[in-house]
């Protein structure tokens, strides 16, 4: 398909690289590069959506408040976006960073400018997700500052597709495969970064250190270069930290140009969003718990 000069420029200009989006999460110099997909998986209540809010805030905040000032598209498939919570995180971060010279009016203006960098889309089925990704292609070509695509969650239609596809596994996975292929093409052409959350459907009985296998289709699994496994520490175990729930994230980065690397980190969830505590990293070897 031919494209206009403006579209070509927007495509090649080079979107902001998000390698430094959150150094606590990823191994040394191993943040998500252009066109890479990061999958966050975990059980309910393990902090996946909070992490997405944290990354969102990091992207839309102005540079003076520690942000990257890029546009973000949030694809909401299960109506889990809580705008009030998001705004309270943005507010508290803007307040801590720009506390000195701001009056009430300019604070609101700063909040509004942050929110105007965010685009939210609600999808209610995987066919609609496919059509929406096609539609987003025009947004991608017209907004060169758009560098991040957040999908919460990619597994929302898993059971609907599985039942709708009857007995054949290919038919069941067909819709998500098409979405994954289209997403792959958009990543190659427009070089954005994608973070997607995937809900776990089986409770793992062997504790948080076991890696749960992805149950989504093969085309999606091939796209993913980083997997963040989220889990929650049992509150009974940590007696001193009983007041605050500790969440752990274990990152597995595997892409063709790098060796496999791992990193574990933990965080609390406060009123101002995610706060990281001690981290540990390793290269090529399993971190023993």
């Amino acid at each position: 398909m031919s494209e206009s000069g403006a579209q070509l420029f927007a495509r090649l200009e080079g979107r902001r690289c998000l390698k430094d989006i959150e150094p606590h999460l990823f191994p040394e110099d191993g943040g998500p590069d252009h066109g890479e997909v990061v999958e966050l998986c975990g059980m309910e209540g393990t902090g996946k959506t909070e992490l997405l809010y944290h990354l969102l805030c990091r992207c839309v905040l102005p540079e003076a408040a520690g942000g990257l000032e890029v546009d973000v598209v949030f694809v909401d498939t299960d109506y889990s976006l809580d705008m009030l919570r998001l705004v309270s995180i943005l507010d508290s971060r803007l307040n801590t960073a720009l506390s000195s010279s701001f009056s009430a009016g300019s604070e609101e203006a700063a909040l509004r400018s942050c929110l105007s960098r965010l685009l939210v889309v609600h999808c209610s089925s995987s066919s609609q997700l496919l059509l929406t990704l096609h539609f987003l292609e025009t947004s991608l070509s017209s907004r060169p500052s758009l560098a991040l695509l957040l999908i919460d969650s990619i597994s929302a239609f898993y059971w609907l597709d599985r039942c709708g596809g009857g007995a054949s596994v290919t038919k069941q996975e067909e819709k998500l495969s098409k979405c994954a292929e289209l997403l792959g093409r958009l990543l190659r052409d427009y070089r954005v970064t994608v973070f997607a959350s995937c809900h776990a459907i089986r409770r793992s009985s062997s504790g948080p250190s076991s890696s749960s296998d992805s149950y989504l289709c093969r085309s999606w699994q091939r796209l993913v270069s980083h997997r963040l496994l989220c889990s929650r520490q049992d509150p009974a175990v940590d007696r001193e930290q009983r007041r605050r729930q500790v969440f752990t994230v274990r990152c597995t980065s595997s892409s063709s140009c790098r060796v496999k690397a791992f990193r574990s980190s933990s965080f609390y969830v406060t009123d101002g969003g995610v706060e990281f505590i001690g981290t540990s990293s390793s290269q090529d070897s399993e971190q023993s718990q």
């Binding site: 919570r85 889309v121 059509l131």
Partner: protein, 333 residues
């Protein structure tokens, strides 16, 4: 999956439809995903015309992106917080039930889930003067109990009748009728259910696990798919019509023996807020106590695992009793 039909958009006539079907393009998704140049060649139609059709169909069927600022404005003006009528439960829920979300109440038999639902329905209908849709799947709702709760609020029979009229009840016992009812409510039924000036502010489903858990398990996936469909229609209804959805769930025991809400891991992502109800530590009293303890197990606004104790008889207390109870609460805390 939207099938291509004649007249869906200008330019899509019967002849073009036939050629498209011959080229194996039957749905809107197929049309949008296929290569427009090649398709135009195969169906011997001009490239520009096909491109225009593609653009119109995409605009018709896609979800439209909204700016974050507009979404926030809309939410500020439309979100309401409905008090449940019980101050300790309200404190646990961060001042009450939020519209636009699903709140789940889980508990074992006799833990008071239905009583809490009655209390919430009566409070919203009498104090807040708004309508409530109550979907009863267990057969546990009796108008007599609602009347009893209302009689402690007011002795004026007209006000009692007006409040009872604002609670609309549906009795269904299988998941297909539940889906029928919810789809009907979503496509216009909610406006019709708004009587007495107040719009519907809450939809209570007691209980959602009674109709879904018999279908789960085994080799068939239909049960899971129906569960996700129910969740989807409840969420879209809550968001589009600004109602608070309250559902109840049973409990099971996890592998390590502790009590957890039922319906499995796939349902656990659906409600925004989850509360587990249990009987409070019973004192040596022989008479059945109304004390219950509620634990917050999932919330996006409060730290988890905070507990609150409350009395189920709160919603049917009389006036002098309530002031005495309030003094008791103050000395306790």
């Amino acid at each position: 999956m939207v099938v291509l039909r004649e007249g869906m958009c200008p330019g899509l006539d019967a002849g073009l439809l036939r050629d498209l079907r011959a080229a194996d393009v039957k749905t809107v998704e197929d049309l949008v995903s296929s290569d427009t140049e090649e398709l135009a060649r195969k169906c011997s139609v001009s490239y520009k015309a096909l491109l225009a059709i593609r653009r119109v169909l995409l605009a018709q069927h896609t979800a439209f992106p909204v700016s974050g600022a507009d979404l926030y404005e809309e939410l500020l003006s439309s979100t309401a917080i409905l008090s449940t009528g019980n101050p300790s439960l309200d404190k646990l829920l961060d001042s009450g039930l939020y519209t636009g979300e699903i709140t789940e109440l889980s508990g074992g038999p006799g833990s008071g889930k239905s009583q809490v639902c009655f209390g919430v329905a009566v409070h919203i209908s009498y104090q807040l003067k708004q309508s409530v849709v109550y979907i009863d799947t267990t057969g546990g709702l009796t108008a007599g109990r609602l009347l009893e709760m209302l009689q402690t609020e007011t002795s004026n029979t007209e006000e009692q009748m007006a409040a009872l009229q604002r609670i609309q009840i549906f009795r269904l016992f299988d998941v297909y009728s539940l889906l029928d009812c919810l789809y009907g409510l979503r496509s216009g039924g909610l406006q019709q259910a708004s009587v007495g000036g107040g719009s519907v502010k809450a939809v209570i489903v007691d209980s959602v696990s009674a109709v879904i858990s018999p279908l789960l398990g085994g080799k068939h996936n239909e049960g899971m798919s129906l569960m996700i469909q129910v969740a989807g229609v409840l969420k879209t209804m809550a968001k589009d019509f600004n109602v608070a959805a309250l559902v109840t769930n049973h409990v099971t025991r996890s592998g390590s023996g502790e009590v957890q809400p039922g319906l499995g891991a796939s349902w656990s992502h659906i409600p925004r807020t989850r509360i587990l109800l249990e009987r409070a530590e019973p004192s040596a009293a022989v008479s059945p106590s109304g004390l219950r303890s509620a634990t917050l197990i999932k919330s996006s606004r409060q730290p988890c695992h905070i507990k609150a104790e409350f009395d189920l008889r709160w919603w049917s207390r009389s006036e002098e009793e309530s002031s005495r109870k309030r003094k008791l609460d103050e000395t306790d805390s």
